[in-house]
């Protein structure tokens, strides 16, 4: 390292570095605010717990124990030694199933959210940026159309036409739940567009694409992020709903599939509560944790909501 190099870095900071420095500062400020939000911290704790559980599932549960042919437990048994949450009709431990189920439930929740939010963000941004033009009117009409259709019926129709696999469920959830985020992001984009620096950029000759990606997207990003967290909760619930209705992928264990299989094995009538209640509680905890995080983020990022 030469002396001149050191001089340059200490005297003038490169623009890119400056931008990142500023972003880091903003992130730190947000984190400080977030840290003081009790709801947010509790939610985050739960969320991290479930994510860790999902990642660690292969270490906690051996494949033979959740394979119907090789499971060793007694079928349909209430909790007993070695099976703290009882067993299902194949003699598999319900605890193991719930742990393994977290993987598919979270995978579907997160991936479907990525699909929904990227679709919603793209349409919302474009529509907001071109607010009032024909593009906006057209995209808005499409958004409204998807908002108006009862999502459950659309999801049922789509999944029965396309078949039942995890990836198709993800697409179905993505397609049925992008409209809400699109609306929100469009509103945000509309307001950002009106700010003076956007106009300045345009005067300087920036293309639409550059303005969208460099100036509007970064400013809308927090909203997109907070919304995405909330959408995960909705996506997990949607996956559960579809699975319980028998439209899920019965071969991939998710919490919804566990409940559906319990239902069809007469768990309600026979009183196999240990089979139905744990996955239900898991769903409630996960959706609640994502929702709490989403609200907390919302409050951190949206000054209007702060202090309420």
């Amino acid at each position: 390292m030469t002396t001149t190099d050191t001089a340059v870095t200490t005297l003038t900071v490169s623009p890119r570095r400056l931008v990142w420095q500023r972003r880091l500062d903003a992130l730190t400020r947000s984190w400080v605010l977030y840290r003081h939000n009790r709801q947010g911290i509790v939610g985050l704790g739960f969320m991290l717990f479930f994510i860790a559980l999902a990642l660690a599932a292969p270490l906690l549960v051996s494949p033979e124990d959740i394979e119907p042919a090789t499971a060793q437990g007694q079928p349909n048994h209430s909790p007993y030694a070695g099976y703290p949450l009882g067993t299902d009709n194949f003699g598999r431990s319900v605890l193991d199933l719930v742990i393994v189920g977290s993987r598919i439930s979270l995978l579907v929740g997160v991936t479907a959210t990525v699909v929904a939010v990227s679709l919603g963000a793209t349409i919302g941004l474009v529509s907001g940026y071109y607010g009032g033009t024909k593009i906006d009117v057209g995209l808005n009409a499409i958004t409204n159309w998807f908002l108006v259709i009862p999502w459950l019926i659309l999801a049922i129709v789509l999944s029965s036409i396309l078949g039942a696999s995890v990836w198709i469920i993800i697409v179905v959830i993505g397609v049925t739940s992008w409209a809400q985020p699109a609306r929100l992001i469009r509103a945000q984009a509309l307001s950002v567009r009106a700010r003076p620096y956007v106009e300045r950029a345009r005067v300087l000759g920036c293309s639409d694409r550059a303005i969208l990606s460099r100036h509007i997207l970064p400013n809308v990003a927090p909203v997109i992020f907070a919304n995405a967290i909330l959408t995960v909760a909705v996506a997990i619930l949607t996956e559960t709903t579809l699975s319980i209705l028998g439209l899920g992928d019965a071969t991939a264990i998710s919490w919804g599939v566990i409940i559906e299989q319990a239902f069809s094995a007469g768990a309600m009538t026979n009183g196999y509560w240990w089979w139905m209640v744990p996955p239900g509680i898991a769903i409630v905890c996960v959706t609640l944790s994502f929702t709490m995080c989403g609200y907390a983020l919302d409050e951190v990022l949206n000054p209007k909501l702060r202090g309420r």
Binding site: P68, G163, L184, M268, N270, T287, G294, R308
Partner: protein, 594 residues
Amino acid sequence: MNRTPRRLFAVVGIGVMLALAVPLSSASSTEDDPQILRVGVPNDLTTANPLSLRSGSDWNVATIQYDMMLQFGNDDLSPQPGLAKECVPNGDLTEWTCTFQEGVLWSDGEPFTARDVAFTYELVINQEISTYAQYFTEGTTFETPDDTTLVWKSKMPTSQPETPPWIYILPEHVWSEYADLDKADLRAVENVPSVTTGPFTLTEVDRGQNWTLTKNPNYWGDEPNYDEIRFQLFTNQDAMAQALMNGDIDVATNVESALLPSLESDPNITVQRNVSDWWLNLAFNFGGQGEDSDPLSALQDKTVRTAIAMAIDKQGIVDKAYDGAATPGTSLIRQVPEQWHYDVPEDEQIPYDPDAANTLLDEAGYLRGDDDVRVDPATGDRLVIRMPISQETAGALPAGQLLVGYLDQIGIEVEIFPVNEGKMYSYWNAGDWDAYIWYWTGEPDPNYQLTTLMSNQCGELSDGCWANADYDALVEQQETIIDPEERQAVVQEALALSYAEVPSIALAYPNNIEAYRNDQVTNFTPVPGDNGYLIPNYNNVGMVTVEPASESSSSAAGASTGMPAWGWAALIGGVGVATFVFFRRRGRVDEEEG
């Protein structure tokens, strides 16, 4: 924030109301003027037209109302006198003379004659009603010299009149006006209210809800004890079981095996298990049907199929997929009727022995690759079986899930695709599968079931276009044999061959489960035999003998075997929280949008 508590109250309120609503369903009234037998069924009545029967409920309703020429016997489904007293063949079996009872009236008071039988059979032949037309050889004609005699003339020897043909006899004076319609229009005739010779007639149908049969005042047999039979549709098995336990229905049919623990623990409920008229089948695809058909070629090898059969723990399927309410399957014909079932001798049985199956495959050169999946030495293909599974067939999905593990032990990978009935047909049609799990159902006579594996049935009845000339010859031979014992020998030879060659594997013969309240109803006549169907599947005798239980104790003991109260509380609480979160989120979004 100040809005939240009110929402919370609302949610809690809804929860409390739900909790209150649960124990509200109580026992119903007992002694009404007309005696009504209330039957719970899980399948809707799709049609009341005997020429287009499809669902189990369609068959139940038609069987209760109509008579065949000769009827199935109560004990062994052998042909017994019904409308016809007897059918006598001539020497070379080309002409059968059937004599009918005198004085039988249709439910509308018109006299029944042999002409009605001839009319029905001619209608079936002319309209090519496929379910029934198989009973008649090419060029069969009928003559009715007088009101009680039918002469059945066939160009070749036939024993079909004594099969007996499972065709319900229709009244000519009602159906003659439809005889010239298109087949589609004929099969769409509604036929409510119906005109029949059986003990009941269908008088009211509320599709998707219930349907009612009323006593036929002109019935030729003994007078039924019930005035009406009312079928109530339950699309949810749990609801049907609860209705039975509460005494809202007297009988429940087609009960899922999963509900047995609850029903069997109720002292007021008697459970009837019988050999179902269908069975669970694993079929292999040999190719030949469908343009895109490209099934796994290793399945052409009998060694591979035998190894698969050896790796399947059929008792495991019975225990885990059917809660024990089934018997392990062997060949094409289940145990009813007994004389056609092939009891595979010990030394011919393909045993459950995964180790031997592994050895078999090792010796045949199917060695395990790096991922533990075996590789076909001839083609280099990994042994991966794409297996669609009929989701609507009871026990098929759990059986498929078990198969994945069973075949994993012998280095064969199975990918299962649980799909609905329509999708199953399109898989079958396209030939785009390696093996599938579906059901087969047939009639008491073995001819139909045997035909399904013949090579000429590729694209018609055959699952996977298996072709075996020896088998074809045996099936053709048994068709022409009149002597029952001689025929039995050939039928069993065909069954033994099809068992040893493994073109498909009968995984299980499930039980059909019916349950009734022994404090409300008694004196059913199960057919066939003591373990037979209570609600008619073969003949309607049971609906005549069934009667209300004498001391009908009105207290339907509400011994709740359901979820404990706190289980309900947890469930309702969970739903409440989820609803709360949902509403709150929606509220937030609205605020932001506004």
